[in-house]
Amino acid sequence: MKALIAILFTSILVDNFVLSKFLGICPFLGVSKNLNTAMGMSVAVIFVMLLSTAITWPLYMLVLVPLHVTFLYTLVFILSIAALVQFVETIMKKSMPPLYKALGIYLPLITTNCAVLGVTVLNIDKQYDFLQSMFNSLGVGVGFMLALFLFAGVRSRVDKADVPKFLKGLPITLIAASLVSLSFFGFKGMIEKLFG
């Protein structure tokens, strides 16, 4: 139990995918302007991450490892995640129109997002069992949501400020993102102190 909470803490704060590992920057920069779209995107990311882990972890452990072809993991993971997201989107469009309206449009955007692939690969790298993998994916998704919401607030302030012309738009956004990322470095070393 303690290990699962430690995993959650790590993935949300210490090793935040966006702010510490710099994965999933595209949706992070693209969607953090508006809080409503940020919410939709975050939920879609959490959803896809959980599903992807549920598919890829068994695929790795039960197919790739016994057949000694673990080097195929990149190809196979991408293939299965893309197929899975397409599958889910088609079903959602027909069977759950309100849910599709809320987050369906984000699904194609995060199909082969490096954050989604990253979390599935990370689970294998860290040799987590199935439950730990699911918790890790949940934590990464929540961490993504946290980073997105924080940055939405920062961006609304930056929008109102008097920015020099050469920095307007993407440059000042990236600088702001790097400063937020720097602040998250303060969490390093927290896990060892808290969980022994």
């Binding site: 057949l67 072809v69 195929l72 293939l79 299965s80 197929a83 599958f87 088609t90 079903i91 027909k94």
Partner: protein, 292 residues
């Protein structure tokens, strides 16, 4: 340097098994997706695409639906009234009605109106504001730099919010160009003093351009064109269209017959009259000097 080992003789199985696995997975996923796509197919509606194309595509949400896609879906599937798009107005309502074969909903054009006339000639500032050029930010500092805390700050938040460039700041007060205004209502939400309201644009429309609810004496101290609650307009109105909200007069546009008696008797020039085709108020626009 990474040592490279080249072996000319390799085990065929080492190549075939990965290829077989990946190939099998790819074919399997492909078949599943094709089956799912066939079973979960939604027939695409030609009517929906055509209706969507007819809409302006501004996605302002003034119709009350989630953007133009939302309104198009509602029109095509549920048959909602055709006059909800304020950007398209009456012409769009007629065109939609003709295409869909329904009766057009009558649309009365509404425009935004900034309910304040306190420009630099009429009022003064209490302190010199040197900060971010944004009304929301300025209003957080002691309700803004102007003497009247209910009035327009003139820093242009509504100007930035308007996607049609219909608002300009003239002498410290925002003014809406009635011709450019499409009633998308994005400016209404942007004003921190809630000074912008939608009013019907008829041949003549009369409006009390003040929202100061303090007593007449207090209002007079801060602005010479503010409503002092003398009630002369209430007495002059023959249609019972003007009522007092405390010391502030409000004109009910549903009852107003645009006779103009209120404007004639108003001692502080608070009631303004404007009509289509003129950026109101006409006299201020004629001597307009854009103050950024």
């Amino acid at each position: 340097m990474v040592p490279v080992v080249v072996s000319l003789a390799f085990n065929a199985g080492d190549v075939l098994i990965p290829v077989a696995i990946t190939g099998f997975l790819a074919i399997f996923f492909g078949i599943v997706l094709v089956i799912v796509a066939k079973f979960f197919e939604i027939p695409s509606s030609e009517k929906l695409t055509h209706v969507r194309e007819m809409l302006p595509g501004v996605n302002c949400g003034a119709c009350g639906y989630t953007g133009c896609d939302g309104y198009a879906a509602a029109l095509a599937d549920e048959g909602v009234p055709t006059g909800k798009c304020t950007v398209g107005g009456a012409p769009l309502s007629a065109a939609l009605a003709e295409y869909l074969g329904v009766e057009a909903q009558t649309v009365e054009k509404h425009v935004a109106c900034v309910m304040c006339n306190g420009d630099t000639d009429s009022t003064r500032t209490r302190y010199e504001y040197q900060g971010i050029s944004d009304c929301v930010t300025a209003s957080m500092m002691f309700a803004g730099p102007w003497a009247c805390t209910y009035g327009c700050l003139g820093l242009g938040t509504c100007v930035k919010a308007c996607p049609f460039g219909a608002i300009t700041v003239v002498k410290g007060v925002a003014i809406v160009d009635n011709d450019k205004c499409t009633s998308c209502e994005l400016c209404v939400a942007s004003c921190p003093k809630a000074l912008i309201a939608m009013i019907p644009l008829r041949e003549h429309t009369y409006q009390v351009k003040c929202r100061n609810t303090t007593s007449g004496a207090d209002t007079r101290k801060v602005c010479i064109v503010g409503c002092i609650g003398c009630q002369r307009c209430v007495k002059a109105c023959g249609d019972d269209a003007i009522h007092m909200q405390g010391p502030l007069a409000i004109i009910d546009q549903d009852k107003c017959t645009a006779c103009g008696k209120c404007e004639a008797v108003c001692p502080t020039n608070t009631i303004h009259h404007f009509h289509p085709g003129v950026a109101e108020p006409a006299e201020v626009a004629a001597t307009a000097q854009i103050v950024s």
